[in-house]
Structure formats: structure tokens, C-alpha cells
């Protein structure tokens, strides 16, 4: 019997430069198409999205930070799973990963309304790539159709590949280094780390870390770190606010 895993992440906000590598690596890995001409920050597909937040002051007192926000893989009362009428969302007891099955999704978007982290995205358009670029699609992940909801699943295709590799080697457990989500692999600063939260040898759940909207009691598996108090306060707001977009949309 395999030991149950509880995969989670640690994101060091004080190391994130907001370069966007995680966002594009996620899109490459999960066959997420480039933005449709009509897409914007409210209807786009970004399974992981880096928000620029600030301390609310004016230049030169203004200080900014970048907070990558992805599906928080809620462990308790998973809001999206509890509202889905199609059973298209489930929590894998072997890994703790909240999975999304686009084949079952009806496109009602109840899950999007229920998600307190705004980490679910609706596929408003058919997936389209510039001519020839479809050759670069990842064979381990099927492109999704228009009309379904998508979200981060910790690169489930990589988990399956790691399982197959372990099985081929006659092992029942996957090696930790064999399963690393694309955003973790791409991060040039090492700000994002990934592992089994049940494994006491890693310090993903550092005592100084915090979680987004912890007060909701959803037991997210994404732990953030920052030495800056104002960053920790912003993380408890209902949605990270970007100064530019806030201004753009009035």
C-alpha cells in the first residue's frame, strides 16, 4: 500500500522578481494557447498568475512585491469540489491534488464563483495556436475545448509520467526529483519549491510561512514566505490588487 502524499508548494515572495517564467512555462506544459484577440486580464487563461502588489504608498515610499497565485489545492471543504454539479472536480486522496476533469465539465462556472482565490479560468474561445506552433504541444496533456473550466493541477501529466517511470523501475514510490511541476522547474530564482508536505525532511511548511485567506479554513497547500509585514497583510485581502490594472479599470 502506497503511503499517502500531500503535495504542496512553498513560494518565497521575497525572491520572486515577477519575471513571468512560471506563467509561460505553465502554458507550454499544459497546452494553454496564446491570448485570443479579445482576451484580457479578466477572461484570460493563466493557471498561475503573478500579481504585482504594493504597500499603497506613493513614490518614493512605494514598495512592490510579486505574488504568484495558482490553485491553492484546498484540503478542507474544497469549495470548487463541493459546488460542482457534474462531479468534474475531485480531490485525489493519493496525492491531495484537486483535479479538474474537462470532459465532465458543463461550463456552469459555479466553481469559479466558489473559488476564493480566483484561480479558475473559463475557456471562452477554442484553443488556437499560430500556424505550425501546434507542433510544440506537449503530448502528455490534451488541449481543452471551449466552454470548460480549467485550473492548475500541479502538472498532473508529469505525475503520471513519474508514476510510469517508477513502475518501470519496479518501484512503488516515485522519486521526489522525478515529479516537479513546470513552474517550479522554470523559476530562475528558486522562489517556488515543491514537495510532499507529509515529508518532514523538507521545510515547505516553515513556521514563518503564511497562506492566502487562511481565515476561510480551506487548508490551502500553497505556503508563502515573506519577511515584509505589508506583504503578509496583503495576502489576507480578498484579491491581490494590481495598481496598474486598478487604475486602468477605474
Amino acid at each position: 500500500m502506497n503511503a499517502q502524499k500531500k503535495y504542496g508548494m512553498s513560494i518565497d515572495v521575497d525572491r520572486c522578481t515577477g519575471c513571468g517564467s512560471c506563467m509561460v512555462a505553465c502554458a507550454v506544459e499544459n497546452n494553454i494557447p496564446p491570448a485570443h484577440a479579445g482576451a484580457n486580464d479578466r477572461n484570460g487563461l493563466t493557471w498561475i498568475r503573478v500579481y504585482k502588489v504594493d504597500n499603497g504608498e506613493d513614490y518614493p515610499g512605494k514598495r512592490s512585491a510579486f505574488i504568484p497565485v495558482l490553485c491553492q489545492q484546498c484540503g478542507e471543504h474544497t469549495p470548487c469540489a463541493s459546488v460542482c454539479p457534474q462531479q468534474a472536480v475531485d480531490v485525489d486522496p493519493r496525492t491531495g491534488i484537486v483535479g479538474q476533469m474537462p470532459e465532465r465539465c458543463l461550463g456552469c462556472r459555479y466553481c469559479m464563483a466558489a473559488c476564493p482565490y480566483h484561480a479558475r479560468y473559463f475557456n471562452w474561445w477554442d484553443p488556437r495556436w499560430p500556424a505550425g506552433m501546434e507542433k510544440t504541444l506537449n503530448p502528455d496533456v490534451a488541449p481543452r475545448m471551449r466552454g470548460v473550466v480549467e485550473k492548475c493541477n500541479f502538472c498532473h501529466g508529469r505525475w503520471h509520467a513519474a508514476k510510469q517511470k517508477a513502475a518501470a523501475a519496479g518501484k512503488s514510490e516515485i522519486e521526489p526529483g522525478d515529479y516537479v511541476p513546470a513552474c517550479v522547474e522554470a523559476c530562475p530564482t528558486g522562489a517556488i519549491r515543491f514537495g510532499d508536505l507529509n515529508d518532514p525532511s523538507n521545510d515547505l511548511r516553515h513556521p514563518d510561512s503564511f497562506r492566502l485567506l487562511k481565515k476561510l479554513g480551506t487548508d490551502p497547500k500553497i505556503y508563502y514566505r515573506s519577511k515584509r509585514d505589508w506583504v503578509r497583510n496583503v495576502a489576507q485581502a480578498s484579491r491581490p490588487v494590481s495598481s496598474q490594472k486598478e487604475a486602468s479599470h477605474g
Partner: protein, 582 residues
């Protein structure tokens, strides 16, 4: 027993009711998307054998080692070998399919036109190659070709004579250098980031400033004044007046980076004033060292010298060949144009898209793009040791593209020899340094490797690393400080750190579906400045500078210094600009 029509109806009705008690119809309803998810409009990923290939990214001077995951021969994802990759590197394998990619061009027509123009060059008129990324083997080929032509010139952006060693630094003072963004090699910088205190002097709260231990918001264009002030060539009061910092701040920084404290001062290009300051701080041979280059064959030493564009006489270039195939430093077109001969100069640009200098050229010739191009990447500015690494192609280049160095070599009648292999042979004959191979994570002394194996390893993503030059053999460079720039009138337009352009279409995730990056058609300015210019967030406006006019969309951001406009395109940068609402 006879079957009546009534029995058939009863059976059909009973079957329908019974089926409702089975899972089948409910499953079919639940998995509704099964009916439509594989329609012809949805692309299907290719299947095939999965394999890993290694190469180096040539999209910027960092030259990160890359592991490519390929389906058959097609790369489907790229990852860093020694850490992560920047977003440009992660999406590099998509560039060959970029909608702006050039695939065909008038190669033979351009060749004839160039040969004709060279033959008709008047006295004092020149044929020049402008290489935006010097130091490559292709650059050496261009230099050799220009040496053969009697009126040939090889022009390139000025390269700093020094490299920095971040591993030795305990304090780094960055004068607007994007140290944590696109300056140096990300793997090197972040491997030692916890080992030094970072002070960022920057007019805007850049990404590096946001993560620095201390941010000094200086006036735009006053970086050199701060360097001179810290070097003691300006008084604290003068420096404070020019930079906008307080005298106390300047003196405090001066004490922090004092002599012999293993401090390193950097700016974007390691300008002479900054080099002089480092020498004065005792950094020569420690935090800054002579910049080393991989050996070249002895016969290449007769190549044309590197000429700075600023020293070229105005109106002297009849034929200009611009090699834009490898992204490099941006030089304003105005500065180039005034060097062209009056009356019908011939400008040929080698590029994989027409978005750059191709707008001004008579001929734009398509080139291979990373990861199709075979090129080498010179040592980055944070590489104290010489190295030789090849961006081995992961894909075959399409028919119709031309390699700039081959085109230029043919003009001069140089044999179409494999220059990269010649250089690898010279390095191997030197017998020094080690060969690092990523596939097996081994490091072997070069003298233990056979020449053919050495060449094969380099083409399989290996890297030759030499030994750093002993600084004792070199005289420390003497900085010739320029007078600080005058305070600007109007709005100063600053560009974000230069980046390969155009980037993958997936970058729309970063500036269209989120606001992480500034879009190429957007500018950001402080809300006060926006109000003063009569514009507000979301408005269309025209940005007017001495370099030109651009239609832009306005973003307001209170982290931008008042009086400064932040733009994504380097050609927009200017000491004075104006924003006019459309």
C-alpha cells in the same frame, strides 16, 4: 405465442424505463464534453519517442544551458540545466513559428546589389558590418571578411573590458543595472544572491529595486554622477544636487562600499567611470577581472579591428550590413543613419523578423532563429573565466534563410569553412581548460578528450571552460569619466531592460491576460504626470521624442518616478519626451 404490436411497444417502453435505472445514460450526460472535445478544431499533440537534447540558449548573452524535451526531433519544452530559465528561454522553441517570422527574402538579389555597390564605392566610402552581438565566432568571420575588403569596417557596440565575479562580492551597488532581471547569467546571480548585500540606485522601482536590500531612488541619468561622487571626484553636496539623494545617503553608501570591503559597483554596461570606481575600491583582480575570450586560430588575428559606431565619420558608409540575427544591444537608428553616405546608401539587414532595423533597410534577409541557428555565445559579463559554448540547433532551418556570416564571407571571397569547428580545434590544441557535459554531468580536462569527441560533445550541448586570466598580467583600466548629463527638461523616457524581440506569442499571458509586463504598445507614468498631460489610464496617446512618435496606451503607476515615462521598447528611450492625448 404470437408477438403483437402491443408487445413491441411494451418491450420498448420497458427497456427505456429500465435503462434509466442503469448508469449508462447518466454517464453519457455527465461526460457531455466527450461528444465535442475532439472536434477537428482542437489540435492534437504529436506522438513519438520522447528524448532529451542539450544546447545553449542564444537569445541573450547569458547563454544558459538548456535541456530540451523532444518528441522525435521536435522540441516541445525547454528547461534550464543549472536552474530555471527566463520566460524568453522557456518559450524559445516556439520562435520558429512566430507569425512575424520571415521565411523568404531576396537573397541573390541582395547579394548582387551589395557586390555592385561595393564595386562602385567612391573614395572615402566604406563597406561596414554592424554586429549587435560581438565576440561570437560569426563576428570573427565578419571581421576577417572586412579585413579582406580594402574599405571594410567592422562596427560593434562597445564591450566592457572587464568581467565581474559576483562570488567574491559582499556588497553590490547597482547603478540602474537590472541585476536580478536580465544582467549576467541568472543561474550565477541567484546562486550567490544570498551572499551579498544589494544596493540598487534606480530612478524607478524596477524589479531589481523591489528585491534589493536598499533602494536609492536617484534622478534619471545621474548614475554616472553617483559613481563620480563615490569616487571622490564630486563633493557630496554636488552629488546630492545631481542625484536627488541626501548627502547622508551618499556618505552612508560610500562607507558601506569602502576600500577593501569586497564591494562591487555595476551599471548596465560597466562604463569606464564604474570600472574606475571599482579599481579605486580595490576590486581589481577580486570582484572585477579582465574579460576573457575563448582562443581563436592564430590566422584569425589579422581580422579587422572592432570600431565603435561613435568614432565612424558621418556620411561615410556606402554599404551597411546589419547582423540582427542574434539579439544584442540596441543602437538608436538616428545614430546609425547619420553615418550612412548621402544619396542612396545600401542597407541590408539580416534578421528573423522585420520588426527591428529591417524597417529602414532596402533588403531584409531572413535568418535562422534560435533554436534553428548554429551559433556560439561569448562569455557573459559575470563569467570571469573564458568559455566556449555552442547553441546547437534543435530544429532544421527552413529553406530560403541565409546565415549572415556565410553571406558576408562570400562577399570577401573567404572559403565557406566551418568557423566554429576551426575554433573548437584551436581550443582543443591549446589543451587547457575542461569540457563540461550536461547529459552525464561530467567535467573532463580537455587534454584527455580526442578532437572529434570534443567537437561532438560541444554539439551535444557541452561547454568548454578555461581558466580566468591572471589580473597581474594586465594593467587596470583607467576610467575616463564623462561629465554627468544635464538634468532633463520635460519627461524622461526610460526603457525596461532590453529583451529579445519579438517574443513568443505566449507572452500575451504576461501583458494582455495579466499586467505583469509592460506591453510593447504601452507606457506607464505617474498619475500626477498623467493628469498634467491630460491623459488617464486606458487612454490612447502619442509619445513624442526626438527619436520619433509612437501611438501608445496609457497606464498609470505610482511606483514610477514623477517626470519619468516607462516604456517597453528601447527605441522609445529618450532624455526628453512628451505625451499628447489623441
Amino acid at each position: 405465442m404470437t408477438t403483437t404490436r402491443r408487445d413491441i411497444f411494451k418491450f420498448a417502453g420497458g427497456s427505456a424505463l429500465g435503462a434509466l435505472l442503469t448508469p449508462a445514460p447518466w454517464r453519457l450526460i455527465t461526460d457531455t464534453a466527450l461528444w465535442s472535445e475532439n472536434w477537428p478544431g482542437i489540435p492534437r499533440p504529436a506522438r513519438g519517442e520522447i528524448r532529451a537534447k542539450f544546447t545553449h540558449c542564444s537569445l541573450c548573452p547569458a547563454g544558459c544551458a538548456v535541456r530540451a524535451r523532444c518528441v522525435g526531433e521536435q522540441p516541445v519544452s525547454l528547461a534550464g540545466v543549472r536552474g530555471g530559465l527566463c520566460p524568453f528561454g522557456v518559450t524559445g522553441h516556439q520562435l520558429p513559428y512566430h507569425p512575424a517570422r520571415l521565411r523568404q527574402g531576396p537573397v541573390s538579389e541582395a547579394m548582387a546589389a551589395v557586390a555592385d555597390a561595393i564595386a562602385k564605392c567612391g573614395p572615402g566610402e566604406r563597406v561596414a558590418v554592424l554586429d549587435l552581438r560581438p565576440g561570437r565566432t560569426a563576428s570573427w568571420t565578419a571581421r576577417r571578411a572586412m579585413a579582406v575588403l580594402k574599405n571594410g569596417w567592422y562596427i560593434a557596440p562597445v564591450q566592457s573590458p572587464v568581467a565581474v565575479d559576483l562570488t567574491k562580492a559582499r556588497t553590490v551597488l547597482s547603478l540602474s543595472a537590472p541585476l536580478l532581471e536580465r544582467w549576467g547569467t541568472p543561474a550565477n546571480v541567484f546562486a550567490v544572491r544570498d551572499g551579498f548585500r544589494l544596493i540598487q540606485a534606480d530612478p524607478v522601482e524596477s524589479r531589481t529595486a523591489a528585491l534589493a536590500d536598499l533602494w536609492l531612488p536617484i534622478r534619471p541619468g545621474s548614475e554616472e554622477a553617483l559613481a563620480l561622487g563615490l569616487a571622490g571626484q564630486l563633493t557630496s553636496a554636488e552629488t546630492a544636487a545631481m542625484t536627488g539623494l541626501s548627502e547622508h545617503q551618499i556618505e552612508s553608501v560610500g562607507q558601506t562600499i569602502g576600500f577593501g570591503r569586497l564591494s562591487l559597483v555595476i551599471d548596465r554596461a560597466m562604463s569606464p567611470a564604474v570600472v574606475a570606481l571599482n579599481v579605486k575600491l580595490g576590486g581589481w583582480g577580486r570582484t572585477i577581472v579582465p574579460r576573457a575570450e575563448a582562443p581563436v586560430p592564430p590566422e584569425w588575428k589579422k581580422a579587422a579591428p572592432v570600431t565603435d559606431l561613435a568614432t565612424v565619420p558621418d556620411r561615410s558608409i556606402r554599404v551597411l550590413l546589419i547582423d540582427e540575427s542574434a539579439p544584442g544591444e540596441y543602437l538608436p537608428w538616428d545614430a546609425i543613419e547619420k553615418k550612412l553616405a548621402a544619396g542612396n546608401p545600401l542597407v541590408v539587414v539580416f534578421a528573423w523578423s522585420a520588426n527591428g532595423y529591417g524597417r529602414y533597410a532596402k533588403y531584409v534577409l531572413p535568418t535562422p532563429v534560435y533554436p534553428e541557428a548554429t551559433d556560439d555565445i561569448p562569455p557573459a559579463i559575470d563569467s570571469p573565466a573564458p568559455c566556449f559554448r555552442i547553441a546547437a540547433p534543435l530544429l532544421a532551418a527552413p529553406a530560403g534563410v541565409v546565415t549572415p556570416s556565410e553571406f558576408i564571407a562570400s562577399l570577401a571571397g573567404l572559403p565557406p569553412a566551418d568557423a566554429l569547428r576551426e575554433r573548437a580545434r584551436a581550443i582543443h590544441q591549446g589543451g587547457r581548460g575542461t569540457l563540461v557535459t550536461y547529459a552525464d554531468a561530467k567535467s573532463v580536462p580537455v587534454k584527455e578528450v580526442k578532437p572529434d569527441d570534443f567537437w561532438k560533445a560541444l554539439n551535444a550541448g557541452g561547454c568548454w571552460v578555461g581558466q580566468a586570466l591572471p589580473p597581474a598580467n594586465f594593467r587596470a583600466p583607467v576610467g575616463q569619466a564623462l561629465p554627468p548629463a544635464n538634468p532633463s527638461q520635460g519627461l524622461v523616457v526610460l526603457a525596461t531592460p532590453p529583451a529579445p524581440s519579438p517574443a513568443s506569442p505566449l507572452f500575451t499571458k504576461l501583458y494582455q491576460e495579466s499586467d505583469l509586463l509592460l506591453a510593447p504598445n504601452c507606457i506607464a507614468l505617474h498619475p500626477q504626470d498623467a493628469a498634467r498631460c491630460g491623459v488617464s489610464a486606458g487612454n490612447r496617446a502619442t509619445l513624442e521624442t526626438p527619436n520619433g512618435k509612437w501611438s501608445v496606451r496609457i497606464l498609470t503607476d505610482s511606483s514610477v518616478r514623477p517626470g519619468v515615462v516607462l516604456a517597453a521598447r528601447p527605441e522609445m528611450a529618450s532624455a526628453s519626451g512628451k505625451v499628447v492625448r489623441v
